[in-house]
């Protein structure tokens, strides 16, 4: 049953058939459809006129001019809608995250609580999953994979107690974030902006004979390229600062102290980073990224699960 006054009532709800939590994208799709409808009407008029004036001397040139104009107007509008959606969508996501964090804080909650306890606002497994998705949005974390989501569902519905949220994945993410929030954040923004400017200046989006889908794909590919460059820079920075080694030891350390992971992880992280001459980001930030799961330790087989998890984490460490 939906709880009155729950967080789900307070934030914009996803609209059907489009990306969840992205109303700008939803609207963009609708406006794009409206644009197609408008231009299709013009094309219908053109088709009728071509039949009606087929044998009138001089008419084909006029009609060709109309055809070119429709194409140009549509192309310009697609570009404008794309850019507007991109920038407003970015603003929207950023504010959505900040707003949710602020709201939780006002309620005396933290995003950490929400991630540790997805039943904070709801008590049904299905709604817990939604709550997790809210946490993901709040944290700007990557979306859960289908496998991860299924795993959470199973865990939540089959266990009596959620004992610990083990922040193993978080350790890696925090080190990344330390760089991410600093110089790389600026680099990313510059990169995205420069790609958008470059595309606009290059006239790629105005190129005739290119489908709207093709234009969009070109645009998105360039954005993805910019993101790849950012990731490469991030990995370089991490290697340079020996963060990977710190994290490797942290993961091993966590395994030994798995019964009290958070406090130990905070201490170890700070000590390790400071011993390398770095500056730790203080306490683990309250807005901890979504962890890798909720583990219960009431059964021995859980430790096997953790061991497997740790092994997979080690494989993900950047090569040094």
């Amino acid at each position: 049953m939906k709880q009155s006054g729950s967080i789900h009532d307070q934030y914009p709800q996803p609209e059907q058939g489009a990306s969840e939590w992205d109303p700008i994208m939803n609207k963009e799709d609708r406006f794009r459809a409206r644009l197609e409808s408008i231009t299709r009407k013009a094309e219908n008029w053109l088709a009728k006129a071509e039949k009606m004036f087929a044998f009138v001397p001089g008419a084909p040139a006029i009609l060709e001019g109309v055809r070119n104009e429709i194409r140009r107007v549509r192309s310009d509008a697609q570009e404008q809608l794309l850019l507007a959606g991109l920038w407003y969508g970015k603003e929207y996501s950023a504010h959505q995250r900040d707003g949710l964090k602020a709201m939780l804080q006002e309620e005396g909650r933290t995003v950490e609580e929400l991630t540790r306890n997805p039943g904070l606002f709801v008590d049904e497994p299905a709604r817990m999953i939604q709550s997790m998705k809210i946490a993901e949005v709040a944290l700007g974390a990557e979306r859960l994979s289908v496998d991860q989501r299924e795993y959470y569902k199973k865990e939540i519905s089959s266990t009596k107690h959620i004992v610990y949220d083990v922040y193993l994945g978080q350790l890696r993410k925090d080190a990344h974030r330390e760089f991410d929030q600093g110089k790389l954040r600026r680099r990313e923004n510059e990169s995205v902006r420069s790609v958008a400017d470059e595309i606009k200046e290059s006239g790629v989006l105005n190129a005739t004979g290119m489908s709207s889908q093709g234009k969009k794909e070109t645009f998105l590919k360039r954005l993805l390229l910019a993101q790849d460059q950012r990731k490469a820079a991030l990995n370089l920075a991490i290697n340079k600062n020996a963060q990977a080694a710190i994290l490797e030891r942290l993961i091993a350390g966590i395994y030994d102290r798995v019964k009290n992971p958070l406090a130990e992880a905070q201490r170890t992280y700070r000590e390790e980073v400071e011993s390398q001459g770095g500056t730790a980001i203080g306490e683990f930030p309250p807005d901890m990224s979504f962890g890798y799961g909720f583990f219960t330790f009431d059964k021995a087989d859980r430790l096997d699960h953790i061991e497997n998890f740790l092994q997979s984490e080690r494989k993900k460490q950047p090569k040094r």
Binding site: G5, Q10, Y11, P12, P23, I24, K27, E28, F31, R34, L35, I38, T39, K41, A42, W45, A49, M52, F53, V56, P57, A59, I62, L63, G65, V66, E69, I70, V73, R74, A77, Q80, A84, G85, Y88, E91, Y92, H95, Q96, G99, A102, M103, Q105, E106, E107, R109, E113, N117, G119, L120, F121, V122, D123, E124, M128, S157, S158, T159, K160, H161
Partner: protein, 66 residues
């Protein structure tokens, strides 16, 4: 039967001031985007209407002349 335990923590009872502000900003951003998108489409509509009207007039004149 296995059950899911409800937590002892209560859901937020009402919108807080900060949440209202945040929500209104989100709505404002949506509205601004809509305004801009509508403006883009209005320009398209206006431009195409003008193009068609102009072409229609020229075509009718050509037909009369022929």
């Amino acid at each position: 039967m296995k059950t899911t335990h409800r937590t002892s923590l209560h859901p937020p009872a009402k919108l807080t001031k900060q949440a209202i502000i945040s929500y209104s900003v989100l709505k404002k951003l949506e509205a601004e985007y809509e305004k801009e998108a509508r403006s883009i489409l209005a320009t398209v509509q206006k431009r195409l209407t003008a193009v068609i009207a102009d072409a229609g007039a020229k075509l009718r004149n050509l037909k009369k002349a022929s």
